[in-house]
Structures are given as structure tokens and as C-alpha cells.
């Protein structure tokens, strides 16, 4: 089965629920995501209604994870009542379009706590030795 095109070909019903989600487009060991609008009940392998951006989760040579967004169309689809999946909401929160997603806060404080515990453990190990 050929890979569905990135944008513009998906048939959709005006009244059906839409969702803005990440759709994996990379290959093995190389994730790459399109941020697309689809009908909410459709699979990620099916054609999308429209592509709104892209997300490259692998840091590039400048240690950046690149996100591209079409904010105008995003506004339009939000006005149409499209749902936003949590990963996309997190990205939008970090980009400043939405408020920061609670999950971002949660992972941040958990990472901070883990780091603190690791440092404490190291210190105790050094003091005992």
C-alpha cells in the first residue's frame, strides 16, 4: 500500500470530530512526525485532511528539536472545534501558543527530583568511602 500523501487528500465529513495529532512519518530508528488534522476515528495510516506542521524529535547538530507550525490554519481548525492530542498540546504549550501542558510540568519536576536523588546518593557514597 503506498504511503498516504501528507496533505489535502483525505475525505472528511464536516460534522465529524477532527483531531490534531502527531503522525509518524519517519522510518525505522528515525522518527519524524507530521502534525496533521484528521477525522478523530481514523487511523494514522489513512490520508489526512490537512498537514499543519512537522516535528523532528531527534536533536540536530545544534542540539535542537525542530517544530514547524502553521498557526493560521491551527487557529482555523481550533475554531472548527478540532480536538488536540496531548503530545501536540505539549508541543504547542512549549511553543507558547497554548498554556504549558501539565504533563510538561510533571515530567520536569520528576526529572528534577530524580536528579536530586542521584546527586544525594553520590554524595553519600563519597562520604562513606
Amino acid at each position: 500500500m503506498p504511503v498516504p500523501p501528507a496533505s489535502g487528500t483525505g475525505r472528511y465529513y464536516a460534522l465529524a470530530a477532527k483531531s490534531i495529532r502527531l503522525i509518524r512519518q519517519g522510518c525505522t530508528n528515525r522518527p519524524f512526525f507530521h502534525i496533521s488534522v484528521t477525522q478523530r476515528k481514523r487511523l494514522n495510516s489513512q490520508p489526512v485532511i490537512e498537514q499543519l506542521g512537522s516535528y523532528d524529535p531527534m536533536p540536530n547538530m545544534n542540539n535542537e528539536k525542530l517544530v514547524a507550525l502553521n498557526l493560521e490554519r491551527l487557529k482555523f481548525w481550533l475554531g472548527q472545534g478540532a480536538h488536540v492530542t496531548p503530545p501536540v498540546a505539549e508541543l504547542l504549550g512549549l511553543s507558547g501558543f497554548f498554556p504549558i501542558h501539565p504533563r510538561s510540568y510533571m515530567t520536569a519536576w520528576r526529572n528534577r527530583r530524580a536528579e536530586k536523588e542521584r546527586l544525594e546518593k553520590e554524595e553519600t557514597a563519597q562520604s562513606t568511602s
Binding site: S45, G79, G81, P102, Y105
Partner: protein, 211 residues
């Protein structure tokens, strides 16, 4: 394999096995070794739970506001678009159209001038080319005519000696009266002896005779 479009058009739900790596099909039961396994629940402290609830509530409130804002903006935009199509935008469009036409005419004029120039140039080049060709052809023809006339002259010179029915008898008489014998003999030294009846003196015999 059915096409994706067909699967989209179908009204009844279709079960399609999408090829996903490392997944067993939905209809296979739980593995025997995993039947009584109870997954461990994540441990979240009360403090963290409360904090999460608080920030989630805040987030949901903000998101609701944002959603409503964009929905209302969409409605507003739509209404302005609809009102604009009536007078203002039509006038604007007409002005734009006129401006475009003027610009287009200007471009057309410049391009027409360029085209005329180019065509004149092309015409002169073509004329030169055709004249050169015609001259070459004339020259060739003249050469051929001169060659042919030279050949004709030569033939005419030759044709004075031709045998015709008028002078046939005469010629036969002439030939018979003075026959030419083309036979000849040749010896080892390369001396030729013309004629069939010419007298040949043998040198060896001559030498013997002298002795």
C-alpha cells in the same frame, strides 16, 4: 488488497490488519504466562496528586477559554467576510481589476514592440539566407551547363569522323584499300617486329654464318 479510498467509502466498519511491527493480532488471547499478572499501578503521592489536579484544572480552564475564543473569532471572521462581499470588497476588487488591466496592457505594448523588432531581425536573416542559397544554386546550375556545353563541343568535334549511311561505301573502300596489320612478333630482348609478313633475321644464325 483493497484500496484506502474504498475502505474510507465503506459505510460498515471494516477490520483491516494494518501491518505494525512487533504486535500480535487483536483476536489472540492473553498469553498463558500473563493471565494472572496484575500490572503495578503507578505510585503517586497525595501531594503530587493534588498539585496535578490543580494544574490540570487551571489548564483545562485556560484551554476552554482559548477554544471559545477561536470559535468566536471564526464566527466573527465569517460574518465580516460575508458583509464585506456586498459593497466594499466588490469595489476593491473592481479597482484591483482595473489596475491589473492597465499593467497588463503596458506589458503587452512592451512585449509587442520587442516582438516586432525580433520579427524584423528574423526576416532579414531569413532573406539573406535564402538569397545566399539561390545564388549558390544558380552558380551550381551555370557550372553544370558549362560542363555540359564543353562535352557537347567535344562530341561535335568527334562526330566529323563518324561513319554514316552516306559515306559507308566510301569508308569500306578506303579501309579495304589500305589495310593495317596490327600483328607483331616480339623476341627475348623486347624488339617488336610489326606485321605478319615482315622478314626476321635470326641473330644466332647470323653469328653462325659469320663464323
Amino acid at each position: 488488497m483493497m484500496s484506502q479510498r474504498y475502505s474510507l467509502r465503506c459505510s460498515f466498519p471494516l477490520i483491516i490488519q494494518i501491518a505494525e511491527a512487533h504486535r500480535k493480532p487483536r483476536w489472540l488471547p492473553i498469553a498463558k504466562s500473563k493471565i494472572y499478572r496484575i500490572p503495578k499501578r503507578p505510585e503517586i503521592s497525595q501531594e503530587e496528586r493534588l498539585e496535578l489536579r490543580r494544574i490540570n484544572n487551571n489548564y483545562n480552564t485556560k484551554m476552554r477559554a482559548i477554544r471559545r475564543f477561536y470559535a468566536e473569532e471564526w464566527v466573527r471572521e465569517k460574518s465580516t467576510l460575508e458583509s464585506a462581499t456586498s459593497e466594499m470588497s466588490q469595489r476593491l476588487e473592481a479597482d484591483e481589476w482595473l489596475r491589473c488591466e492597465e499593467l497588463n496592457e503596458m506589458w503587452n505594448k512592451t512585449i509587442a514592440a520587442e516582438r516586432e523588432e525580433r520579427r524584423a531581425q528574423e526576416l532579414t536573416i531569413m532573406e539573406e539566407y535564402s538569397l545566399a542559397r539561390m545564388e549558390a544554386k544558380d552558380k551550381d546550375l551555370r557550372e553544370r551547363i558549362s560542363k555540359a556545353s564543353a562535352k557537347i563541343r567535344k562530341e561535335k568535334e568527334l562526330c566529323t569522323t563518324f561513319v554514316t549511311p552516306e559515306n559507308l561505301e566510301e569508308t569500306i573502300d578506303r579501309i579495304l584499300s589500305n589495310t593495317v596489320d596490327y600483328n607483331f612478333a616480339i623476341d627475348l630482348k623486347g624488339n617488336t617486329y610489326q606485321g605478319r609478313d615482315s622478314n626476321i633475321q635470326n641473330e644466332d644464325k647470323k653469328i653462325q654464318a659469320s663464323n
